[in-house]
């Protein structure tokens, strides 16, 4: 059995016919690892996640999950397959209570499983339990992110896609979120993460994929890249290829 739980094979995708973001992108993510997607703005990191989660349909190429092509499948199907997605920014329903927000994360589950799953999530996030009957809009930034992740975990996903979880969080909270993701991966969940906070993310992840102009420019173990003195140049000037001629 292949370790590659997710594969992109020459995927072309974009937001309009005249605006192509992924340009024959080929990459993969391995089972039980945290795979980090990094690169400059507009390189296509978030687009990879959106394409994987069926929000964008590839114009050509194949997206595979456990070897099966999943191009353009519906979110409901993907969730049933065990893929969950926490998008960038605020994704809570502000006027609903914390409990009801959590509950909506489980709309695809059988009703009777729901209470136990919610308990499970609340055990993991005691802060959320304290605020369970508050309106979601009253939560702090960190609590909101916890709730969003918790909502995704409700489904026991095999693959968790998460887009820039650190935005708006203090360094301490960022570390907390990363540690939590690490724990998930160690327990067997595959994590595919987009993150700007590169150093921190590299510390917690297994493998880093650097995207540039919609293509995979670099694929290295995170620890390796973290130690690379050229990391600075990679982000503040020139091209990734220049940073490491040995890449790929």
């Amino acid at each position: 059995m292949s370790d590659r739980i997710i594969e992109f094979d020459k995927v072309v995708a974009g937001y309009s016919p005249s605006l192509t973001i992924l340009n024959e992108t080929t990459l993969d993510a391995r089972r039980g690892e945290i795979t980090l997607l990094i690169g400059p703005n507009g390189a296509g990191k978030s687009t990879v996640l959106k394409t994987l989660f069926g929000i964008l349909v590839p114009r050509s190429g194949e997206v595979r999950f456990e070897g099966r092509v999943i191009n353009g499948r519906s979110q409901r199907d993907l969730l049933a397959d065990g893929i969950a997605f926490v998008p960038q920014g605020r994704n809570l329903f502000g006027t609903l209570s914390v409990r009801h927000n959590l509950e909506l994360g489980g709309v695809t589950l059988p009703r009777r499983d729901l209470p136990a799953r919610i308990e499970e999530v609340l055990d993991r996030f005691p802060r959320i339990r304290e605020r369970i009957d508050n309106q979601a809009s009253t939560l702090s930034g960190g609590e909101q992110k916890q709730l969003e992740v918790g909502r995704a975990l409700l489904l026991h996903p095999r693959v968790l896609l998460i887009d820039e979880p650190s935005i708006g969080l203090s360094p301490k909270l960022v570390a907390d979120v990363m540690a939590m993701l690490r724990g998930l991966a160690d327990a067997g969940t595959t994590v595919l993460m987009v993150e700007q906070n590169v150093r921190t993310a590299l510390k917690y992840s297994d493998r880093a994929l650097v995207l540039e102009m919609g293509r995979l420019a670099l694929d290295r173990p995170s620890s390796d890249l973290l130690a690379d003195p050229d990391l600075n140049r990679l982000f503040l000037g020139g091209h990734a290829a220049a940073a490491s001629g040995a890449a790929a």
Binding site: F53, Q75, L79, H100
Partner: protein, 291 residues
């Protein structure tokens, strides 16, 4: 004092009917981004459906139920499928124009195919009135208020207390986030169209006995529903209620205390004031939807 109470009661009853039409209107806008200029015709058609039912000798309640089913199919699912779905990606204005066209088509069909005349529909409530301390309130007003109130409370309960209802709110607040969680957005939107259709049937049942079923009865109801929705706040279901009742009551007060000649004008002035000073409506929040 008695006058005032009576004006308030009958104004509230009338306003409650406007509110029903306005409620569906705002739901459609929130969940699907649809401005339905044919909303008035959506009230008129069920009135004629019930009339047809009665002509076949059905009792009122059965005619009402059949009208609900028909409305759900034609004005709910059909409207969504045939008009809204192909047009929604073009933006708000083409859909506004299309619903304008639809309103004309529906109205003219009833006129050409059925009748241009007004028809009475029996009231579901007994005639007569209740007199307490010199204040006369008709059973029709009480019934209207009670039924409209029950519908509104029931709808609120459905939206707030059931998973489906909350999922619908989720779709209205943030469609993308809802989709990511696996909420069946298409189905939730369809539910909104069905609810709108059924609300229209209830409005028809309440309004047709006094206002008479006529092919162009939708003009005035539709207009009042728009005004109510905007005055109250386009993106707030509570806003539609407030707007509807406010118009009903104000019309009565102005018609009585100032001049009936400018009765229509006062709701309008209120509406223009709201549009200019607080476009998000009295209860609304500034629109977050990007156009």
């Amino acid at each position: 004092m008695g006058d005032l109470v009576q004006l308030l009661v009958s104004g509230t009853a009338t306003g409650a009917i406007y509110a029903l039409a306005a409620l569906g209107f705002t739901l459609l806008w929130q969940a699907a981004g649809v401005i339905n200029f044919a909303q008035g015709e959506f009230v008129m058609l069920p009135a004629f459906a019930m009339l047809a039912g009665l002509a076949f000798g059905l009792p009122v309640w059965l005619a009402f139920l059949i009208a609900c089913v028909l409305a759900a199919i034609v004005l709910g699912a059909g409207f969504k499928q045939v008009v809204v779905d192909p047009l929604i990606r073009h933006g708000v204005i083409p859909l506004v124009i299309a619903t304008l066209g639809l309103a004309i088509a529906v109205k003219s069909t009833v006129r050409a195919g059925f009748s241009a005349e007004a028809h009475p529909l029996p009231s579901p409530f007994p005639t007569g009135q209740l007199s307490i301390a010199g204040i006369n309130v008709s059973y029709a007003d009480i019934g209207t208020l009670a039924l409209a109130g029950a519908i509104v409370i029931g709808l609120q309960a459905f939206l707030n207390r059931t998973v489906t209802g909350r999922a619908m709110q989720a779709v209205a607040q943030n469609t993308e986030s809802a989709r990511v969680l696996g909420i069946d957005v298409r189905r939730m939107v369809l539910y909104v169209f069905l609810i709108n259709a059924v609300l229209a049937v209830v409005a028809a049942l309440l309004i047709a006995p006094t206002y008479l079923a006529k092919f162009d009865m939708g003009d005035s109801i539709g207009l009042k529903a728009f005004f109510a929705a905007i005055i109250g706040g386009f993106n707030q279901t509570r806003g539609a209620l407030l707007g509807g009742v406010l118009i009903g009551v104000l019309e009565n007060l102005v018609g009585f205390y100032i001049s009936p000649a400018y009765k229509e004008g006062v709701a309008l002035v209120l509406f223009l004031g709201v549009i200019l000073l607080r476009p998000e409506g009295l209860l609304g929040k500034a629109e977050e939807r990007k156009v």
